[in-house]
């Protein structure tokens, strides 16, 4: 039994790392604009599908992954520029609805471009399982974990150590003061969308060999990433990361110990409980400071 639990933990952390990256994307955009971007899951899907398509077109894996990430970041930027920015001054709810519309649009484009089938993506370094104290994991899981650690660290360093990162945070802490010190809030918003889209794309590419991908893969991943951000206290980037890991582990334990049929339900019930008992999220502390 302990060995089994260890296996569930390993699986859960891998899945949680993906949720963490998606949740981080949510937190970045929320930070810069108070908007929950429901197209975040679509960035994950676009990253994976674009990489699959480029690989199919004969590009080597590394190039396909980099190009897919950059292209998806560009889509994020364009989304902000063409759909969010023209609605400047609209309420947050309106903007959120725009992102839902954008998500449906991107999904539609993906289904036209790449059909409705689930498409495979080769593992980066083979499928030979690695045995680790009674548990086994795929080499791809290590890629996911390593990638997540690297991206989270980079994002964290960007936000806490660079002037540009602090300026991004400043836009959320106090938009009026941010403008008064000369921060171009418009540019910051584009930056947030581009970064979030890039992060989402990398998450999608890292996960694709394990989960495969399809035009609708973004829906569930988006919801889980959103849940991760909520659990962590939306707007708190590192909270979203912790929330993602927690969610992944809970899901894996629930699926293993109770029934895999309840996997998604467990995640969402957990989110509802967090919202009920701790509306600002488990690691949220920003609401009080936000006034």
């Amino acid at each position: 039994m302990p060995e089994q639990i260890f296996q569930f933990l390993v699986t859960g952390i891998t899945v949680g790392a993906i949720y963490a990256l998606v949740g981080l994307g949510f937190a970045l955009i929320y930070n810069a604009s108070d908007v929950v971007n429901f197209a975040q899951g679509e960035f994950v899907m676009l990253g994976a599908m674009t990489a699959i398509a480029l690989l199919g077109a004969g590009l080597p894996l590394v190039l396909a992954a980099i190009a897919a990430t950059l292209l998806t970041a560009l889509v994020g930027l364009l989304l902000e520029r063409c759909a969010i920015e023209p609605a400047r001054g609209a309420s947050v709810v309106t903007t959120i609805i725009i992102t839902i519309g954008a998500a449906i649009f991107l999904r539609g484009v993906a289904s036209l471009l790449w059909g409705k089938n689930s498409l495979p993506f080769p593992a980066f370094s083979g499928n030979e399982p690695i045995h680790l104290g009674g548990a086994t994991l795929l080499p791809q899981s290590l890629w996911v974990l390593g990638g997540a650690v690297l991206l989270v660290s980079l994002t964290r360093a960007f936000l806490n150590r660079t002037l540009l990162g602090k300026a991004l945070l400043a836009c959320s802490f106090n938009p009026v003061a941010a403008q008064l010190v000369g921060i171009n809030v418009k540019v910051m918003l584009r930056l947030a969308y581009g970064l979030s889209a890039g992060l989402g794309a990398i998450a999608g590419i890292l996960a694709a060999p394990i989960t495969f991908s399809s035009y609708e893969a973004g829906i569930m991943l988006g919801l889980k990433g959103f849940s991760a951000a909520i659990v962590g206290g939306i707007g708190n980037p590192m909270g979203a990361v912790a929330g993602g890991l927690l969610l992944g582990v809970l899901e894996a334990l629930g699926a293993g110990l109770i029934s895999s049929g309840y996997k998604d339900a467990i995640a969402f019930v957990f989110v509802l409980m967090v919202l009920f008992f701790e509306p600002t999220g488990l690691f949220g502390h920003k609401v009080a400071e936000r006034v």
Binding site: L163, A167, L169, F173, N174, Q179, G182, I183, E289
Partner: protein, 253 residues
């Protein structure tokens, strides 16, 4: 140009073009008109007070000057440039820096990060930023002591000092101050106003917006009186302090 006539009558020089020149400015929130036909100017080196009661439109005027709120008519010229429609960041870059009402520090960031962000448009000039930060720490030694502390944990007076320091790091040619005395104990008001005078003496041009007419007019060279969005009076500060209407309405005797 009625105000200019009055200024001339008051013996103010008109030789140079003003650093800030506001002409027939209007501003509103949707259908609600708040600023009506305001004209005012500030010469380089001056300390000008703009005095008005609660709700007179002082903050709206400053938000309009800083590009946070659009004007509905009129022009704002700064150092010879028409900046009426400029975005806020461009106005800051040109050297118009504001210390907003209620301090508005970045509460979850450290004192030092607040100052660094103040220099957002100057960050390339590392030497200048370091020097200016030293100068701010000399003006407000308490900020240096607390430089690693989160801005949200500072007292109201310290936050006011931080907000002023942050604006100074924007390299202001014109400093806009929105009610720096608000909510501060009299001793702290004295301290803040002493620094305002000192900055002005060092050559920073200042437009000081205040409800505290007595304190503001005591240190200003000239003053404007704002009532329900209109400028109703302008004169050298000493004359305003002696003016019967002003005394009755703003000085309470």
């Amino acid at each position: 140009m009625p105000y200019d006539d009055k200024l001339q009558a008051a013996g103010e020089p008109l030789a140079d073009a003003p650093l800030l020149e506001v002409r027939n400015l209007h501003s509103r929130y949707g259908p609600v008109r708040v600023i009506h036909d305001i004209s005012l100017n500030v010469q380089a080196g001056e300390l000008v007070a703009l005095v008005g009661g609660n709700g007179a439109g002082k903050t709206t005027l400053l938000h309009t000057l800083s590009g946070l709120h659009p004007s509905s008519a009129g022009t704002i010229r700064f150092a010879g440039n028409d900046m009426t429609r400029w975005p806020a960041y461009r106005i800051v870059t040109a050297g118009v820096c504001q210390v907003p009402e209620g301090r508005q520090v970045f509460a979850p960031l450290s004192v030092e990060d607040n100052l660094r962000l103040g220099a957002y448009r100057q960050h390339h000039d590392l030497d200048w930023v370091r020097q200016e930060m030293e100068r701010v720490y000399q003006l407000f030694p308490i900020l240096q002591e607390r430089r690693q502390q989160l801005a949200g944990t500072l007292s109201g007076g310290q936050q006011q000092m931080l907000a002023m320091g942050r604006a100074l790091l924007g390299r202001p040619r014109l400093l806009l101050l929105d009610e720096p005395s608000m909510g501060l104990a009299p001793l702290l008001v004295d301290e803040i106003f002493r620094v305002i005078v000192e900055l002005n003496a060092e050559g920073v041009t200042i437009l000081l917006v205040e409800q505290n007419a007595r304190a503001a007019l005591a240190i200003a060279g000239r003053g404007y009186i704002l009532e329900t969005g209109r400028i109703v009076k302008t004169a050298p500060a000493v004359d305003l302090l002696a003016d019967d209407d002003v005394r009755r309405a703003y000085l309470g005797y």
